[in-house]
């Protein structure tokens, strides 16, 4: 009796997973994008926060793996860059490109982890403080690496909510110093998604 029950359960769960794959928007060919808000804290400094507008574009190569690019534009909401001499940079924009692994097969809940090398384009505040001169070039393009963990929650058709936490390892190396700007960044946003392929 128990054996029969287990067999029926296994068969049903198989049907259930198959049905989920067919109905789910989360499958090969899914293209998603978002525009959201990202709030960060600088890890090399005490109590210094950042605000960014973040956008990303992601394409699912299959149910498990996707390639994605993220762009963050620093927004001086806290009026930090120009007015506070303890703030390490005037601005800090970034681009990351890499891949993400999506953990499990659910119709709408899509947790993932990703790794993205990238670049930071920043303007250091430190040069201005130390050298008090406008002759020095204190903007520079710098390599960076970023790890991200989070989830998307898909509505039935074309929208999804997203939340992720990102660790950024970066520094701004200008002509006269190197300013570390490691950051923990939390993103929240509303995304748009589109299936570019029919379900198999």
């Amino acid at each position: 009796m128990v054996r029969c029950f287990l067999i029926v359960l296994l068969i049903l769960s198989g049907f259930f997973v198959k049905a989920q794959e067919e109905n789910s928007v989360i499958r090969k060919g899914l293209l998603r994008a978002q525009l959201g808000f990202a709030h960060g804290t600088l890890l090399n400094y005490n109590s210094l926060n950042t605000a960014n507008i973040g956008t990303d574009l992601e394409y699912y190569l299959d149910r498990r793996f996707s390639i994605r690019s993220d762009v963050f534009l620093f927004v001086d909401f806290f009026n930090a860059g120009n007015n506070r001499i303890d703030f390490p940079f005037v601005f800090n924009h970034s681009l990351y490109t890499g891949a993400a692994y999506h953990f499990f097969n659910s119709k709408s809940f899509d947790p993932y982890i990703g790794l993205q090398p990238g670049f930071v384009y920043g303007k250091s505040n430190q040069d201005v403080i130390l050298l008090a001169s406008s002759d020095f070039k204190n903007e520079s393009l710098n390599p960076a690496i970023s790890g991200v963990i989070g989830f998307n929650y898909y509505a039935p058709k074309v929208f999804h909510l997203l939340f992720n936490v990102r660790y950024v390892k970066a520094s701004i190396a200008t002509q006269y110093n190197i300013t570390p700007i490691d950051e923990l960044r939390i993103s929240l946003g509303l995304g748009f998604n589109l299936n570019t392929r029919k379900a198999d």
Binding site: D62, F65, Q116, P117, P143, A173
Partner: protein
């Protein structure tokens, strides 16, 4: 009648076998990816960190090629910085039949062009830069996850070009600083070999099968 039905099945199996057979060159796989690099040692005591990208074009079961570009920044003890930019290519050789295996170890060797600049952070800043050519060789492994592969590798890169001379000095106020060249932005470095070890971590997506 049964024999007649058997013939199409036989033909289908022969056709499918023939299709597999024509793919035995395993070439044409095109991958596109990003990578992070760490320049572990060489002239400098501290590692440099970089970001780059590459594409891979496979020519056979055992042969792949990698075409890459990197940009690396090294903090010279807070006294200066060094930037390296590489653009080049490598041939990857897989010693084992690992085409559809998870672990795909490989050797690689290749060539690149690079631009290096070194700048001190002293009150009187000194600076030097050069173009050079390099050869590299190393080993690594790819973790093949079907549509994605993650590769870790190490390679030794040997630059042939004019050396950029820089050293840490102490001034009369006992402050340490980095002097690049002769301290007057004049280049006196001689042509020679300069090597550094590279660690790379890359993520590659299989984009297309070109032939």
């Amino acid at each position: 009648m049964k024999r007649l039905l058997f013939i199409p099945f036989l033909l289908i199996s022969i056709v499918s076998w023939a299709q597999e057979k024509t793919k035995d060159n395993f070439g044409g796989e095109f991958q596109l990816g990003m990578r992070s690099t760490m320049s572990v040692f060489g002239h400098d005591a501290q590692p440099g960190y970089g970001t780059g990208g590459q594409f891979r074009l496979r020519f056979g079961k055992y042969i792949n090629t990698e075409w890459f570009a990197d940009y690396i920044t090294t903090n010279l003890g807070g006294l200066g910085k060094r930037n390296d930019a590489h653009i080049g290519w490598s041939v990857m050789f897989y010693p084992y039949d690992s085409y559809d295996k998870v672990f795909q170890p490989y050797f690689l060797a290749g060539h690149c062009f690079d631009y290096t600049s070194v700048r001190s952070y002293y009150y009187i800043p000194t600076y030097d830069s050069r173009w050079s050519s390099a050869v590299q060789m190393g080993l690594g492994t790819s973790f093949n996850l079907e549509v994605i592969n993650i590769s870790v590798g190490t390679q030794y890169m040997m630059h042939l070009g004019r050396e950029i001379e820089y050293e840490v000095k102490t001034n009369t106020w006992n402050e340490t600083y980095l002097q690049v060249g002769d301290g007057h932005n004049h280049s006196h470095g001689s042509t020679g070999l300069e090597g550094h070890l590279f660690l790379t971590l890359s993520i590659n997506a299989k984009i297309a099968d070109l032939w």
